[in-house]
Symmetry: D2
Subunit: 161 residues, 4 copies
């Protein structure tokens, strides 16, 4: 069973920019993470965007929706910043049917030793393999249907609504 | 949805014994791993054994089966050494019905920077929440039914039979 | 032989601010680093500042100079951002005599798995114990006298002048 | 100033043997550690042995002494298991004069996230650059003359005698 992974950036992929002394985006860490997890899932990875999800425009979301709709696989994982993950999940839910699509991300960049990213990636790939068609958010061991989740910004976690 | 986690040891929990300069077992790393993954899954953790799975006896397996059968939850994750994970899965499958039980472990101890443990734990907890009753092995992003899996020792991975 | 460690911030101590999704300063990582290195050096640690060295003012430098001059120990390590480490070293050299003072920092924050911080800290503490009185910069295994070093911004390293 | 690094194994370089599920020796981690520390010290690395220091024979020590005596550089770092580091330091002190030779190692293998190895390496390379000719042990931020150190096995640290 093959899974398509679309990269869009987010905390997951933030890296340290030595010259400017701040976080920025470089290449995705996904392949390195799959190696570390010794993943034996058959995946095809494609980087669509590499941005902070607060800067994601409607055009960007259309791009993601279009790729989810057009890709050959019926099981998809999308890595995404947590700030607007709910909005993108809603956009995908409106535009794509008949596929199992799981959005995931991280609260702490993978490049930090203390990241939750590897745990979330293992979780998202697993949910994507067994859940029925629909759009979901998988974070910190839990999974939420796109239409029944919100981000609790104070508590810095997702919760059912 | 609450999940019961039973610890039995295995590579997952091997730690460095400074005095004797070799690997041994101390306390389980599970709580630390759940903290790192910022897991929001409702779990109860219980350490049943803390041994290398090559040293696991029939009595040890009976102990695991009995706890799986008697625990209040219908969704269970068992951490286990990979060498005899298949045998224990078979024993559980024979002794317990009506529950979703997922065995998982690691190829590299969690205490090593290069461990696959956190990825596997995220995966196992996810499969345990959504798979129908049965006994499974979740390793490296994949899930296998207890009766259809073997460990390929040369390739150091699990595969379907 | 006791060493006084003054913390001033810099890349060394940058941490991830989850709420705002960017790097910021929290508590210093120094005690954790000394624990990891199992340091058996007798140190007293004091946080003077917790800022990016690009934002360091003349007043801030005076504060550092004053503490170096007044502290009871004759061997001192100062953690500092790399951008203006040379300027601060010069200010200390002008204001303090008869003490061995070593400035150090990191190219990558300690909170990142890929940090050079632990290596630099082991190095700085060692140079501070054996070098004659003077002001030095210890970075990436090398040591430079305060009056004979510059930061090469393109190459992102220090070099003798 | 060039430093010769001789590798002999020890806890420093223990790695996880997946097939046998225990610690063993593979390639040295030294180059990776120098990269992580972004070391700018001019070094030449040579692996003499790759063994547990408890298994080190008189012949092995002769080999180390001979290489220390014959190498072109007058500043040398030797990585070594902690159990018999003191004996090897004594052997080198008897056989080599006029050079600064620093032995170092680790209490926890570098491959573990919690290793003191990187701190010790930064320290040893620094002491090796500035100490006068003699044989020393550099561990956990401290440096000891070869003839005035013992390993305290209960406390798992070195101390002056």
């Amino acid at each position: 069973m093959a899974i398509c992974i679309f990269i869009t950036g987010g905390t997951f992929d933030k890296t340290y920019d030595e010259i400017r002394g701040r976080l920025s985006f470089g290449d995705t860490h996904l392949p390195e993470m799959l190696r570390l997890g010794r993943s034996r899932v058959d995946v095809s990875i494609r980087t669509l965007l590499m941005i902070d999800s607060l800067e994601m425009t409607d055009n960007d979301r259309e791009l993601i929706v279009r790729h989810c709709a057009q890709c050959d696989h019926s099981r998809i994982v999308v890595t995404h910043g947590t700030d607007t993950m709910v909005e993108t999940a809603a956009a995908i839910a409106k535009g794509v049917t008949g596929k199992t699509i799981v959005l995931t991300g991280a609260m702490i960049p993978y490049a930090f030793g203390s990241s939750d990213g590897l745990f979330n990636l293992g979780s998202a790939l697993s949910f994507a393999q067994v859940l029925p068609p629909g759009v979901y958010i998988a974070m910190n061991g839990r999974v939420y249907a796109a239409e029944r989740v919100r981000k609790n910004y104070e508590a810095r976690r997702f919760e059912e609504v």
